[in-house]
Every structure is written in structure tokens, then in C-alpha cells.
Symmetry: C2
Subunit: 243 residues, 2 copies
């Protein structure tokens, strides 16, 4: 039996998405229960340079599992002002992101991009609004160029600093603002939980049956539905056109 | 890089543990973020006969991942009154459970058992209090015999029907009542998140470094900490004695 995965790649905002009830990790886990596994590969403080270099190890951590999709949410750390040690110049950021996207595309065509969000400049003076806008714009352009769905967190958050817990990371309300849009993006990529058969047969079909009959029904179920993934049957271009 | 897993095996109460903020799946995901993956293998309506027969497929769904531990939470459905199609006689229940435990032990020595909890007999007349007590007792005895930690949900829930959402399944408060005890059991089995290194180096050690230096630091980190799992170094008997 094959449970595919949605893998969340990002920095602390992704890592902490397991800490809040509406955090993306927990939100998607709830949506896809008994359909696929959602795994968190967020790393506090990482910029695209670090993520790119860690990528082979992150892939190895997925073992033999197949990926149904990825969420890629980077840029917040790259965009610290020049001179700060985490800073990644905009051109290098764009190249790193394209490199990561190319690597992910080898594993799944379903990649949802998130732009960096907002921050409280009074509390994070190592970031600058105009500079951050360049990184947001770069992610927008990468989505367009690669024909990938995008959730623009700057537009979604507006100027509502209440969505931030410490001026940079998100409150539960912050996560709740965009997690449904990520799910919506996956639905548009033919990964709607409601269209996916639940793993293993319904108990109503198994109850009162002999061991042999149950074995038979499980085998038939696996043959019919396992690995069902519309992506496997849909031509890549049709999928892209559907975005 | 190796993310081990905690696998939750059970029926609907386990399946739905992804739906509530304090549900065991989400609770443990939060506790172990960036240390290991928590995966939900709960199947609504399954009794031990069905779970036993589905077990090879459930194992195959874990791919090449290694298991750091399991939670096994069955019995609520087996204990429906004789004549009901889900009913599994107590002796067969005990045998099925022992079989499942034996299979799990081949993959990890850390197995936390949960007893069936309480139910509202006015709403679930297909279950009986005295009969359910036999299944609770059987799980207690299995824990003792196999030297596995046990969380007794009947004792924990007492007569508080407010912990049930529909007279059988749990409210968020119900999950919250025991999820910390499951985490505590894993801590006692040398799986304390606070003692486990976070996956991938701290960004502070990587920032400002060249690509080569970052590669080197990641390699050193993986060599030093990856696959670190106290279990691998602790003699099986010591682990058992620690329970």
C-alpha cells in the first residue's frame, strides 16, 4: 500500500507550522488523513543557499516514499539587509529557487509556492520593506515562469500585524489566513481529498467476512485504488493547463 | 538523513486524531517536529481481525522508513456485543493483539498500548460495560506480559461523558486527557524530543559560510547525530527495565 506525501519545505515559519492548530502542517494533515502523509521539512533560519545544499539530505530523509506534492516557502531569511550573514542577493535567491524547483519537479509536478509575508519593521530592523518586495516579486515571477500555483502572503496579510506573533512569525490566525488557499491550490492540481479514495476498504465491506474474504477484499481494493493519483494518468500539460 | 517515524495504529479514534488540535497525531507531531515524523494509520471501524489482516499492507505503506515507535489502540470495535458483525471474541482479540504486537516488535521495541475508553451506553447499545471491561483487562494483561507501557483510558476518563463527542469518539478535551501521557511513555522509552538533536545543523552555525563549509558542516552533523536513537545504543533489556 502506497501513502504518498506532501512535503513542506521552508524555514522557521514552516517548521513552526506543526505548533499551531491551523499551522500548515497540521491543517493539511487534517485535510488528507487516510489519503496521504504530510511531512514537515521546515528549518528555522535557513535561507535558500542552506536549503539548496541540504536538499539531497532532505530527499534522502523521505526514503522510498513518493511525493504527491511540495510546498516551497522561502525568502524571508534571504531578504535580510545586505551585510547581515543570512542575506542572499536577489539574483542568487532567484537562481537557488529555480534550482530547488527543478529538483522538486523531478519528484512531483505539484509544487505550491508561497511568497514571503509581512513583518514588523520596528521589531525586525534587519529587514526592509522595499527589499522584501523584491523577493516577493521574484517568487511571483518564478511561479509564472514555471507555471506553478502561487499563494501571495503579502497580499493576503495586507498590513495586519496581528497575524504575526513576534513581528515575523505567524499566529494561529496567520496560518489560518493562507492554509486553506494552499489546500485549494492542491485541489486545483487534482489532489482533492474528497476525490481520493480512503486508504484500506470501508469496514462495512469487511465485517462478518472470513479471513480469506477480507484478504481478497483488501487485495482488490489495493489493486483498484492504490497509487491512484490522477497525476499518474493526466498528461503533464493538461495538469499545467488546469492551473 | 534519517527521519524515523512514530506510527499510530488503531480504529476511528486514531484516524480522527488528525482532526482535533489535541488529537494524538497532531499532538505528537507538534512535540516531535524536526525530530521525527508521526504518521496516522487509524482505520474507522476496524477490529483486530481486520487490522491484523491489513498489517502487511500497512507496513508496506511505511516504505523504507524506520520506526522509532508505535501506538497500538484497539478493542473498542472488537468489544461490540456478540452477534454484532464487528464482534471479536475475547480470546481471539487477545491472540490478534499478541500477533500484532509480535509483528510490531520486529520493527521497534517502543510500543505504547492504550486500553479502550468509555462510551455512553444510552447512545451505543451495541456495547456493554462489563463486556468492554474484559477487553480493557486483556490489554492491561498484554502490556504486563510484553512489558510494554500502558495508558489506561478507562481510568483516565472515569465517568466523564463530556470527553466524548458522540458517546464513543473523543472531543478535543478527550484527546488532551491522554495525549501527554503517551508522550510521557515515549519519553520513558528514551524518546524525549528534548534529548533528540534537531534535524540539520542550526542556521547560526551555517550563516556566512561558503558552500563548501556548509556542505562540510551538514556532513559532520549527519555523521554525528543522524540515526541517533538511544534505542540503537541501549540494550533491549535495559530499555525494558526502564519501563
Amino acid at each position: 500500500m502506497n501513502y504518498k506525501q506532501i512535503v513542506l519545505l521552508g524555514d522557521s515559519i514552516t517548521e513552526y507550522s506543526s505548533l499551531h492548530p491551523s499551522g500548515l502542517h497540521l491543517y493539511l494533515s487534517k485535510a488528507y488523513v487516510r489519503r496521504l502523509d504530510v511531512v514537515n521539512r521546515g528549518y528555522d533560519g535557513y535561507n535558500t543557499k542552506m536549503l539548496k545544499l541540504a536538499l539531497p539530505n532532505i530527499f534522502s530523509s523521505l526514503g522510498s516514499a513518493q511525493q504527491a506534492g511540495f510546498v516551497l516557502f522561502m525568502g524571508t531569511n534571504d531578504a535580510v539587509i545586505p551585510g547581515q550573514l543570512l542575506h542572499v542577493p536577489i539574483d542568487e535567491f532567484r537562481d537557488n529557487m529555480q534550482y530547488i524547483i527543478d529538483q522538486l519537479l523531478k519528484r512531483s509536478k505539484r509544487i505550491v509556492l508561497l511568497t514571503p509575508a509581512i513583518f514588523d519593521k520596528n521589531r525586525f530592523q534587519n529587514r526592509d520593506k522595499d527589499l522584501m518586495a523584491q523577493y516577493v516579486n521574484a517568487v511571483e515571477k518564478l511561479a509564472e515562469k514555471n507555471k506553478l500555483p502561487l499563494v501571495n502572503l503579502q497580499k493576503l496579510f495586507g498590513s495586519n500585524l496581528n497575524l504575526l506573533s513576534d513581528g515575523l512569525h505567524f499566529t494561529d490566525e496567520g496560518y489560518k489566513r493562507f492554509a486553506p488557499q494552499v489546500l485549494e491550490a492542491f485541489k486545483n492540481l487534482h489532489l482533492d481529498p474528497e476525490d481520493m479514495p480512503m486508504k484500506l476498504p470501508d469496514f462495512n465491506d469487511l465485517k462478518g467476512k472470513t479471513d480469506e474474504e477480507i484478504d481478497q477484499l483488501i487485495s482488490e481494493y489495493i489493486e483498484t485504488y492504490d497509487g491512484i493519483d490522477t497525476l499518474d494518468r493526466i498528461d503533464h500539460h493538461i495538469l499545467r493547463d488546469a492551473i
